[in-house]
């Protein structure tokens, strides 16, 4: 049983303008769960992770691992293992010594250390590199050593701080799958920090979105995508980002150019922020219902093409996903309509909160 529970945990950097890097975080990673903390830079996600590791003070609230309150414990008494962004391998030690360091400190016998290290090395395909120094390894191998150093200890929690951001794109995709598979196999509670929302969506059992130190929403990837709780989550999750337009309400709907879109919720008079994902829009024929879009940029990705354009009478850009084989040309006007009204999200323009969320 090792769940990690933040209860009103805050980290405040003192100074003339004291900064609440993490502000009253209430979050719980269940036993064996893979929880991803995601957010833009400066959102406090790394700080939150380092608080659980004991590398940052907790100024308010508590953190518990399992049923122990660890708020005041030093890192070495928390039974955690951490993987750092820079890997933080000990440069003067061989791969074997790097992995054995923590076991040696615990007073494990030499024979046992050897067995454990070799097991971990085998699991991570590092056996032939055991006697090399970190500087003689490639980026991907170093990353695996950092993972190995964490798993030999069999800790109750893994903490990973952007462990893939120093790898090239191809290796990142591969390692992403490996880490997720390894975690499922070991069933060790894991908190994983990333700024990459694709990583967050593909790896996490649940994803917690942070912004300016405040938790925005913590839910399964599907739920985050399907029912974002506020405008920030709506814009952050999904690539390219959701189109968000603030429009006046007119008889239970809004007007997108000449197209009237019925809102899925009952809205009062005034304005609402309407969110439609690029993949919920598609080009339609000239005579059909829709609105006209002046094409300003076309991003061709092969299978799909993303068309950036402006709506007549609006400054905001609208992005539409189209078929990659026949993308529209720059400067053309295309007619676009939502494929399904169910995929229109409505938010309060003042508070940014979702309207109609139960």
């Amino acid at each position: 049983m090792a769940q990690v529970a933040y209860a009103g945990a805050s980290r405040i950097y003192p100074g003339a303008h004291s900064v609440r890097a993490v502000d009253g975080l209430d979050l719980c990673a269940g036993d064996g769960e893979f929880l991803v903390l995601v957010g833009p830079s400066g959102s406090g996600k790394s700080t939150a992770l380092r608080m659980a590791a004991g590398l940052e003070d907790v100024d308010e609230g508590t953190i518990a691992i399992g049923d122990r309150d660890v708020t005041q414990l030093p890192p070495k008494d928390r039974d955690i293992a951490m993987v750092f962004q820079s890997y933080a391998l000990y440069p003067h030690m061989s791969v074997r010594e790097n992995m054995a360091f923590s076991l040696k400190l615990r007073g494990m016998s030499k024979a046992d250390v050897r067995v454990k290290v070799e097991e971990a090395a085998d699991l991570l395909d590092l056996t032939q590199y055991l006697d090399r120094k970190p500087k003689a390894l490639s980026g991907g191998q170093r990353q695996r050593v950092a993972m190995g150093r964490a798993i030999v200890r069999e800790p109750s929690v893994f903490l990973m701080d952007e462990p893939l951001s120093n790898l090239d794109a191809k290796l990142r995709v591969e390692t992403r799958a490996n880490i997720a598979a390894l975690q499922r196999r070991l069933a060790t509670t894991t908190i994983y920090v990333t700024h990459d929302q694709v990583e967050a969506m593909t790896m996490g059992d649940r994803v917690a979105v942070l912004r300016d130190g405040v938790l925005q929403q913590c839910a399964s990837p599907q739920e985050l995508y399907g029912t974002p709780r506020n405008v920030f989550v709506a814009g952050f999750i999904g690539s390219p980002a959701m189109n968000l337009l603030t429009l006046p309400v007119d008889g239970g709907g809004v007007k997108l150019g000449e197209l009237k879109v019925q809102l899925p919720v009952r809205a009062e008079q005034g304005e609402v922020t309407v969110g439609i994902r690029p993949e919920s829009l598609s080009p339609v024929g000239a005579g059909e219902d829709g609105f006209d879009l002046q094409v300003q940029l076309v991003e061709e990705l092969g299978a799909d093409a993303y068309v950036h354009g402006t709506l007549a009478g609006h400054a905001d850009k609208v992005v539409v996903r189209t078929d990659g084989r026949t993308p529209p040309k720059l400067g053309e006007a295309i007619r676009v309509a939502p494929c399904d009204t169910g995929e229109v999200h409505v938010f309060d323009p003042e508070s940014g909160l979702r309207i109609g969320a139960e």
């Binding site: 590398l55 030093p74 070495k76 820079s86 933080a88 440069p91 360091f101 923590s102 400190l105 200890r153």
Partner: protein, 310 residues
Amino acid sequence: MTTLVEAPQSAEPPSTRTRSRQRSAAWKRRAPLLPALLFTIAVTQVPFLVTVFYSFQSWNMVRPGSQHFVGFDNYVDVFTDSVFLQALGNTVTLTVVCVFVAMLLGLGLALLLDRTFPGRGIVRTLLITPFLILPAAGALLWKTTMFDPTYGLLNWAFGVEVEWLSNYPLAAVMTQIVWQWTPFMMLLILAGLQAQSREVLEAAQVDGAGRWRTFVSITLPQLSRYLQLAVLLGAIYIVNSFDAIYLMTQGGPGTASTNLPYYIYQRAFEGFDVGQSSAMGVVVVAMTLIVATFALRLMFRAFDVSRGVK
């Protein structure tokens, strides 16, 4: 087939021509460096060769016309001269003790400075000051304000009346040199401490290492290069100490605090014995080279700091 036969033939004739052209191009590129090279040779190697030449002669400037070759006599004299041997011993003691103590103090101060506290910039500047003072000024400062039996701060502070410079001449000189060189060691080691990755230290913490363990297993091995450099540079400078001895004790009382540079100075410019002092100079250079190339390397291999203290 024809191309195969032709290839070696066509490769041969240009080889000599291109080689000479390459050589002249290389010389053209290096030519601007020549003045610096000639200057370096003129001011370092020529005097050394002249010194070697003098060391085979019996030549005392007090007796003009006495100059003649004596072969290795001067070198035999050097090794049977009890004062030379004493000066050699003093030099070794001075160098080893000063380098070691200055390095330990420097390490301690660097560790204290490697954390944030209010006024850190001022403290750092103050700690560096001894290194910025002219060595001669530093020596006079210690002689008059610290060690002086009548006005000295040491006697006043401890409430004693000790003639520091007469009773403990070598220790007094070493104190001044340590004072002067500790900031140098501190700066080098501080640079090493600050070059450490913070994440590596944090990883050690998470791995279960306490402060002492982290220092011994992670910090010290990573510092080893900086420590080696500090020892090497410190030793080179301290072997050559002259100012402190000349100004504080004049090598005395008797020859109690004479080191090699000071003894050579005495033989050359007070005894005017050119041959003898040249031989000593050559011996000292040879010994320094041996120490610098073999002894230090051996020392570091023996301790093998870079693999961590087990």
